[in-house]
Symmetry: D2
Subunit: 153 residues, 4 copies
Amino acid sequence: MLSNERLIRVQWGDCDPAGIVFYPRYFEWVDASTILLFEKATGLTKIKMLERYGGAGLALLEARAAFKVASQYGDDIKIETRVTEFRRTVFLVQHRVTRADGTLALEAFETRLWTTRDSTTGRIRAGDMPAEIVAAFQAPGSDPANGMRPASA
Amino acid sequence: MLSNERLIRVQWGDCDPAGIVFYPRYFEWVDASTILLFEKATGLTKIKMLERYGGAGLALLEARAAFKVASQYGDDIKIETRVTEFRRTVFLVQHRVTRADGTLALEAFETRLWTTRDSTTGRIRAGDMPAEIVAAFQAPGSDPANGMRPASA
Amino acid sequence: MLSNERLIRVQWGDCDPAGIVFYPRYFEWVDASTILLFEKATGLTKIKMLERYGGAGLALLEARAAFKVASQYGDDIKIETRVTEFRRTVFLVQHRVTRADGTLALEAFETRLWTTRDSTTGRIRAGDMPAEIVAAFQAPGSDPANGMRPASA
Amino acid sequence: MLSNERLIRVQWGDCDPAGIVFYPRYFEWVDASTILLFEKATGLTKIKMLERYGGAGLALLEARAAFKVASQYGDDIKIETRVTEFRRTVFLVQHRVTRADGTLALEAFETRLWTTRDSTTGRIRAGDMPAEIVAAFQAPGSDPANGMRPASA
């Protein structure tokens, strides 16, 4: 299964008066990491991907993070992002954030919904994940054991 | 049990290109809401409360949000915050974010740890929640059925 | 001339490791304050105002702030916002940010351009400020001496 | 004179409902760029540099930006940062933000003050820029014509 790695240098302004990363920043980075993973899979920006596949967005249903070790200004952290499961309309994203010495700083999880716009009413509603996108996450050399599970939403 | 209500007008810059609140903003508001609840309970700012009770911080162990309805620029939302459980060193915070019409926009949950600084090593470690702070959340007129449970961390 | 006042409680997460407001936050507040002033003048949200008057945006040409006294977590600050000059297509906004004791924390200034969308090419370009909007800033009881100057852009 | 270049990919969450970068973000990037430039010059993080040289901070006196072309999600921008002048206690920083095609997106300018802590009163006050730091900006091969001017604050 395709994954995306991204290095971030923690800046002064990312940190709070305790000198550690203000935690909403992690969700900013994690949100961007999910988009970057889809860009990597499809070769398209989020906007172009939605246009091409008739999507209206990657609606967030749930976000969660479990914090292990705080990060500070000057730290280099790595965010490793992968989709752990594609269901019919929903997909699960996992982000592992590690420090330069390899220790886990935090893990974050997103549950997202592929949405489309109803051509009659114009309303946003759940849509089936385009098979072409799901297939694009099956990168060459990926371990089938870690691959997509044909689950229902 | 004491709760805190806070109204927020969603601003243009809180929103993303889809025109809805960029979700890390909710965690910014939620983090501040937890602090404001402790200020309300103790009558002290976070900094003064930590000084008074020998605390080093309200370390975040886990944050989670379940999103129901998106909010947009110009919306007025209400954040209602309460501690749902005090354990020995850990406490659970719940935030209900509702729209002007009363519908639930999202719920967020934080698991936090009362930390102290070891006087010998200077290291941060879990500490027992000061009884005086826990008592301060027992606001007059609070429903005992919703009160604190004597749970272990 | 119409002005808008807005109180902001500085939150923990607004501050950096030095314990003072991370300065980009001031620009976030100032940007919102300009929009709120236009809402107050027109009775419309920014989106509806642009629709009504054929605008494409309030493009920022220049932003500047002069910092006097730092603000910290727990401080209550007031942002007082006014348009100091309407030119043909450009207007100047001034923001005075004061502390609870009335001392000046900072002043910020924005130079903004009323833009419209060319109906033929679809491109964004400078447009004349709608007279109705300019007139709306002439609040009852405003001092003519502080009023609009008929300047050219 | 030493300069620092930094590439930034504009993320979805950096942008507002108009689809362009929410301008306070530029100041976040610019603030970090100034710190990174000092790190490059001194080989120290901001915190260690302040410790080593008895500094209390790089207090911001003024920040200004002139915007030319908006940036959008997916754009790659380059921030080129240099100190244009060292005075006795004050220094001026210039940031040129360019797009991938080399066009100027914006220019930002900061006026900053080297501060120290009075050993008697503990108060923050202006301090002379350490000569060693100023010298560190004279990178090998720098053009003397663009070098430091011995100006008074």
